[in-house]
Subunit: 135 residues, 2 copies
């Protein structure tokens, strides 16, 4: 029975978080954030993590300068989507409804959350009449 490796591992995610917060950055800067009082070897750890993220197409590398600069190629919401997709596929036969139901029924939503949801649902409803709207 096949296993599913992680789309992004914990250590890779830590690198992505740094790039989301402060990217694009070179390896040295990322290492300084992740390992503030770090060992020299940890430069190589971040290097390896970036190599794997590049292979997974989660980061891109700008080689135009001698010191390469890395940028996240997926954003936080992309990854949230992938993770939610994985949960839907593995547990609910691909259906999103149980995830929605779980989130809405099982969490104490704030008034702001409820308002936001109503607005989003409204956004999705088919419009009774098509109007020209500015882009």
């Amino acid at each position: 029975m096949a296993r599913t490796p992680q789309d992004v591992t914990d250590a890779e995610l830590a690198v992505l978080q740094v790039l989301w917060d402060a990217g694009p950055l070179p390896i040295r800067r990322i290492t300084e954030v992740l390992y503030p009082a770090g060992k020299p070897a940890q430069y190589a750890t971040v290097q390896k993590l970036l190599e794997r993220l590049e292979a997974k197409q989660c980061v891109t590398r700008d080689r135009s300068m001698p010191t390469h600069v890395f940028r996240a190629a997926i954003d936080r919401d992309d990854l949230v989507g992938r993770r939610l997709q994985a949960v839907a596929e593995k547990l609910c036969g691909g259906s999103w409804t149980p995830l929605l139901t779980h989130l809405v029924a099982n969490q104490s939503l704030s008034e702001a959350d409820r308002d936001l949801l109503r607005a989003l649902i409204q956004e999705q409803a088919p419009k009774p009449r098509r109007r020209k709207e500015s882009a």
Copy 2:
């Protein structure tokens, strides 16, 4: 940097799915479902998977008969919740709002889904007057 092992692995999940669908069941029955044309050794595979699930408190074992019977101790919605919790914690600082936003804004919801969501949201709204309700 610590790794997070899976709460339930793919193979363990396959066992749980069988128990959700047709449990409670003994090992032999579970093995027949998971490995229809299976090797004798796969009895031991399922055995080991059940042992690990028991240790994780995801299944319970009824030892009152010579042939032990296994039952899921968490249901599908429990596991959905755990997985969603994990996504919220790792990607959104624990907040559910981005997950909700992603699900509602990024999926083509059916009319039935929208109606369901409106009802659930309504359910969550504070009632204008508190009434005694039977438990």
